[in-house]
Symmetry: D2
Subunit: 340 residues, 4 copies
């Protein structure tokens, strides 16, 4: 392909506008031509803000645009699978926000369409591109800590989402832990065979009333023998808490949170630091740029994407298994839920 | 009682001599009168080193000594229960190294003897007296982090014990994790109802050949809703790794390892720190002094001991349940093994 | 004024292009119209890269452009004063890279021209806008550490500049320490009365042969009684080292370096972290954006700039005094060199 | 000599009792036979507490005791020189608390007496034996950071001493900074040629009224080209602050304070640590044991002591020069004050 890639944005909500800003300002190879949103005013506003010539309501319009070579899908989750299939049929390369879908059957049909079309497909697991997590992966893959034995992921949000969001979220495992499931696979470089979930409602009874959980530990049994734990809470009052430790035969690596500054204040009461970055957009802003750069590089160079369709599917399986483990109070093998 | 307490030591091995040193040099209220050891030469050497007038082979002799008010039991684990019963019958106050026994029936008989005699009885879970763990307990008990929701204990040895030791150890859960089971109960202040174990042999196949495990994660479901994880390895190449995090509605507290110094060296390659203290005796020396001081204070003041017989029994139940969970690949309720 | 500011860039070297990138991509209120450079090809390339319609050789041409409301001066230091005077005469607002000049007489004439013209004038001491230094200033100004008593600045470069650069640099105090002199005034909020310099050549004898120094400590006696020290080296093998501590009656605040990640790797040898950010552009990138945003805000809102002409002059006086202190081996009062 | 050393303590005040405790409980080779104190009741109480058979009023009595091989001098500073001379004449090995004296003539006479007698003489600069400072010395001496270029010592007390103590203290440089002067020579392994002092009264005007200072920076010009700074305050509200950084051609080493625990508490306001150890006895307890062990080892093995008479004299010269530098507002060469 050429030196630049013409893209269209589908979905002009919060995450869509984040990607638009990066495509316009941070990635020289990207040319953002059009935006579609079911809310035409939102599409129009987004087009004006980022200097796009075209704003439409129906995503089909951008797929028919022959100048558009790739789409960035940021629409509601339940439209992802359909748009992927249509975009693949139109021969567009596809970047799709996570999750692909909550239904394995629909995921599989979408991925089959992608494969049949031979287009590049990348899922938006942006955290893989964060400098801290990259460093952990590098250490594990490069043997810096020997053979990995144990992994512990801490992943806690600063505050729970609105209860309406919770109800439509697919549940904590498909909405929140899904990032950690992806991270676990990415860091260890092995598939998970079995999960065991211990969880409860500790933050807000309304979350429980909605049938969901807000506090959870998921144990992961990996094929390569690694034992992993994921520690989730919907509310860490001190802010966004995203840490990992991987322990192996040659040592360990652990990453801490990012803080807005490095200051330590010593007073008559204690030594203190300012809280970690509270908002996921501050914490992960560079990883969003890097994932999009990686997608564009993959398309332009014809190399495989760094987060594949299989990478998009596997965490959904894990999320389904994690919930079943909680419901049935027993470890659940992933092949029990593999096939929808 | 008076201002000083006359004690006898039973068992002049490594841990026995540690207690002897502390009783003689660090605890003014203690008067160490006698030592018994099945190896008379060891008893004699210990008596000379610490200025004790009496060294005998049979522990019964020190129990018959009317000047002896309390005994410190540091003999082989399989003799603990018998000596406890005899000491209680003789009206001696008892400090006993962990574990009381591996058999719940024998433990219960020993504890019944203690109760019948009305003597003070303390189990040697020294880590409760460590400054780091004390600080965590203080934070949890004092509400500094709100209601506890999650707990994570990292407990890794610098190197596995000799294989002969492993074979007689009762297995990793009763030999090593037992400290963490005690710590979990101490920190959270609630009982564990169910455990789930994920474990394997990653450090040394010989440990597996001996029927034991060397790498384990145990999930703890507490009565008060806290979910805990214990992360064990028999070999952390960087040294003795003993950390904890407790997370709650009002925040979290985490403790790191102790290092021999605070130096950070910056070179052209990296910033580095010297390894944490490698030997449990260096790491926990002050906690051994403090537990013995607490025992003596409890006896002299007639106050309840800080680590009771029940505290000695519960971690054994947890260890048995953890192993069963591993064997049966399912969560195990403690009441499944409560009664031997 | 309006909502946007039309700017021209004078000087298309490294720092000029940095500012161009920020004006174009990061600051919505900025409109970059033109660039001038004594090297016309450089001007042209810069204009193309950042989408500017005008590229010229002579800076006078952009001053004559009536659409240009403000200039960003990034040309060679010895042209700053002349361009400031011309830009002020043309009624343009001025952002000028540090230092204004090495000659106090020329500085004073330039600042007089600015004052006469009544234009906004800001000097490029970007570090004031860095999140770490901002946090220290906030603590001092807000009384978080009480009355300040002592200040210590560590400021070490990863490697010395080329020897030809050194020869034309004005010497370490006007080239490197000048940033620290500005930081000292900014953090403490008081003027320096007297300096004492201890310095030497420890990194490279060629620097000494060029009449300069590469290792220095400068003691600052502030009017408000604070005693400050600046610790400089031209070569820290572990990377760019920029730390500060301010100590006061109510406590202290200290800031550490920024690292590319938060990872700690534990091995059988040591615990280690990756080196701090090595390149000043990585370390301070956000502060360059923030200083330019502040300049544009000051112009658009008609508020005083955050780094004034006086702030540009004072560190030059301190640099001249620091060198005289070294030459004469005695403390030097700033009023000894105040008047050129 | 033999395997044990018979000692007498001269001075049963706070520091004397600390040494007594260590000699009795921590150092097997030591046999503490006698104690002398101008307050006979204090001598008697000390003898009883540590099980010494002899308690006397006049130090001469213990010097006449032929069983006493070495003395530990902990009496008032103005008696040190006289007792050293008498002890040397009596052929006793001598451990003497710092400072030897404030008067260089008296110091020189005392050291001449020691030399004539050929006894072992060690000065009580205990901080040399602290694990943190030892680690820095090891790094510098072993070339771990290349050739040293810069050194920065932070040394701040938690609170000023009573004003009566201040009046008799010899001034901040001879009372407090003297430890840092010794540390500077020890860490760098080179002599100081010139000092420059910047200082003031910021903590308590009463200290100024007594003719003393409470806040000071002293610049040290070492023979080997290293430039050092010492940063002192009589009051750090957050506790005892004892840190060092040495920077060299191959990197740097820095040490931080010791804390009572490693806990980090995260709350909705900030992350915090408990304050560093506040009391010098907690901070340096192990260094007091180690210095005494080193003295006894030197006597028993006939090896040179690790802190010599010259090491006791040099910091006094530096203290006198530092004060003269402050009074005369100029750098002062040590040879200006070398000869009393």
């Amino acid at each position: 392909m050429g030196d630049t890639l013409n893209l269209a944005l589908i979905g002009a909500g919060r995450i869509g506008r984040v990607h638009a800003a990066h495509l316009v300002h941070r990635i020289p190879e990207a040319q953002l031509l059009a935006v579609a949103d079911v809310n035409p005013a939102a599409a129009q506003a987004c087009a004006e803000q980022y200097g796009m010539p075209v704003a439409v309501e129906a995503y089909q319009a951008v797929l028919e645009n022959r100048d558009v070579e790739a789409v960035v899908i940021c629409s509601a989750t339940d439209t992802h699978a359909e748009i992927i299939e249509a975009a693949a049929a139109a021969g567009k390369h596809i970047f799709c926000e996570k999750p692909i879908d909550f239904d394995l059957g629909r995921i599989d049909r979408a991925l089959a369409a992608v494969e049949a079309a031979g287009v590049t497909f990348q899922v938006g697991f942006n955290r893989r591109f964060d400098a801290n997590f990259q460093r952990v992966r590098e250490a594990v893959a490069g043997g810096e800590i020997g053979e990995p034995h144990l992994m512990h992921i801490v992943s806690r949000d600063p505050a729970p989402p609105p209860i309406d969001y919770v109800k439509a979220s697919g549940g904590i495992f498909l909405d929140m832990t899904i990032h950690d499931f992806d991270m676990a696979r990415f860091l260890i470089g092995s598939e998970v065979e079995t999960v065991y979930t211990a969880a409860g409602v500790r933050v807000d009874p309304a979350i429980g009333a909605a049938g969901d959980l807000d506090t959870a530990v998921v144990v992961l049994h990996f094929e390569n023998g690694v034992i992993g734990t994921i520690d989730n809470s919907r509310q860490a009052v001190y802010g966004y808490d995203q840490r990992v430790e991987v322990f192996g035969s040659g040592g360990s690596i652990r990453i801490d949170n990012n803080h807005p500054n490095t200051a330590v204040v010593s007073t008559a009461e204690h030594l203190r630091r300012d809280l970690p970055l509270n908002f996921f957009m501050d914490r992960y802003v560079e990883s969003y740029v890097a994932e999009m750069q990686a997608f564009i590089d993959a398309v332009l160079k014809g190399t495989p994407p760094s987060v594949t369709g299989r990478d998009g599917r596997a965490p959904v399986v894990m999320g389904l298994a994690a919930r079943r483990s909680f419901d049935e109070k027993r470890p659940v093998r992933l092949d029990e839920v593999q096939h929808g």
